[in-house]
Symmetry: C2
């Protein structure tokens, strides 16, 4: 039977319907009644699905009772209303297949809150946490909303160069890109001989696609970039990233008013879209990370923006 | 009056309706009847719009008769059926405003076919040519189709790192990224002391987001990357680019058959989408660049793919 994502089971699963789900075990609790609750998550949404594994299963003693956080399983069964608290539905398993074991003495993620500092040391596993999963889903929703916003308005998406020889108005310190052996680059007249480097000239990582976007705007009308950008600024704050994705629209035949209109519409549409498509993840952030985030976004969506001149602003 | 894009005028403009269009002059022909044909293009589609400028216009003698290829104008007027060959509609101008002049002695693009080698020397203007405009529109249509394909199937879009310390199975030669002064990098025990470079370790431009995508697939289920990738291979052929955008799906709980299914569906959907959304641009490529391109894509969309083992293949 084809796999159904947990997000789909929870959104539109039919009570009494048979489903196959696959995911990673978050918790297992054994009831004295001779069955176990196994909660699995497959990353398609924040919520997991509760699997009811009865002792009648062939591998109940041999495998189900050994399931631990991080094990990967396939469960096939019938969707039922859940009498328990915390979930509306659960899957009564007809079979459970273990696809991967996770030794609790070694597997570092357990059902508790881990610090970001600790998670940084296990970057290969942190997407399995609620926070990183929610970040990935919301980032995906925002990226999609950004493309949809511009495509709906007839903007052309550009891939501007990442490796570049220009420094775009000195927007920031740049990383150098080279194939020279460091400290063994050829010199000429006392300076590095870049004519012998890969591109025959000094090359850097872009700080902005603006110059190329302007060129295309002056041929295609309305364009946008959405790609990675770099800053070699040595300041370790949450406001300075050395690598980040940036959106840059450029419009020909547009004035300041049209620009303001686009910026306001952009913010409202992206935030409205995320509040709508990522309700569960945003509620999670609102509860555990920033209790004002939903209120702030709803305000930005529903209220008018004040427009003022720079002089008024300062 | 708000600007209407030429693509929209040609697709759904009403005969007798009044429109304001803006764009760049491709040609001007003066009729002995006391009026001029001014063809403008605004990049929203391959076709331009023919503007009929009558000698009755205030600035006919002073400006319209001086319009040359590359001038930027705004024309306001009424859409009419065109009695001439080559276009169905034309705009009878009530006013023409010149926004930018282009001196024909200096402006290098003229109404003729330029070689790619020449266009390379005027990269800031080549998006105004038919070929580069069509490439930009088709690339945009494909990028959008790629995102739509994966989003419709519940895949999570990932931005994997561009600057990386790993080299992903040696997929290719890598560019080095550094903030050291070349030939002045600090050394320790006879080797470069990367602990003092920006990231405290050697850093390169990614050759693939696969490793990070695999990590996320093993937490989120189905993911994809679509971002820039780099190869420092010094071979100047049309098959080797040092910078290009790559799509990499990764799926948990999937087998070879599911993988084949996805790959086939991907190709069929992207090609069908481009044939559908970019009909005019594809017809242009089919006529001037590769007379088999539409036939090839239609074949890929409509015919079954042959599936065979590697052993059968070789």
């Amino acid at each position: 039977m084809k796999r159904t994502r947990i997000a789909e089971v929870l959104r539109s699963g039919q009570i009494g319907g048979r489903y196959t789900v696959m995911g990673w075990v978050r918790t297992r609790r054994d009831s004295k009644g001779g069955f176990s609750f196994v909660e699995i998550n497959d990353g398609s949404c924040l919520s997991g699905l509760q699997i009811i594994a009865d002792q009648g299963l062939d591998n109940y003693e041999g495998e189900v009772l050994k399931l631990q956080t991080g094990c990967s399983i396939q469960a096939q069964g019938t969707l039922s209303e859940s009498p328990g608290k915390g979930q509306k539905v659960e899957l009564k398993a007809e079979s459970i297949r273990v696809m991967g074991w996770a030794d609790p003495d070694v597997y570092p993620l357990q059902k508790k809150r881990h610090s970001f500092e600790f998670l940084r040391t296990i970057a290969h596993l942190r997407p399995r946490t609620n926070t990183f999963g929610a970040v990935a889903r919301v980032r995906n929703a925002m990226a999609h909303a950004i493309h949809t916003f511009f495509q709906d308005r007839g903007f052309i998406y550009l891939h501007t160069p990442i490796i570049t020889g220009s420094d775009c108005e000195g927007a920031g310190e740049m990383f150098k890109v080279t194939t020279f052996d460091l400290n063994r680059a050829p010199e000429k007249d006392g300076a590095i001989d870049f004519s012998r480097d890969f591109f025959g000239a000094p090359a850097n990582l872009t700080v902005s696609g603006q110059l190329e976007a302007e060129i295309y705007a002056l041929a295609m009308g309305d364009v946008y970039t959405f790609g990675p950008t770099f800053r070699a600024e040595n300041s370790n704050t949450s406001r300075h990233l050395s690598e980040f994705w940036m959106v840059e629209p450029e419009m020909a035949f547009c004035d300041l008013e049209g620009n303001i209109e686009l910026a306001v519409a952009f913010l409202k549409e992206i935030f409205a879209s995320v509040l709508n498509t990522s309700e569960e993840d945003m509620a999670f952030f609102n509860r555990f990370v920033d209790s004002s985030v939903i209120g702030t976004l709803e305000g930005l969506v529903s209220q008018d923006f004040e427009v003022m001149t720079y002089t008024e602003g300062i």
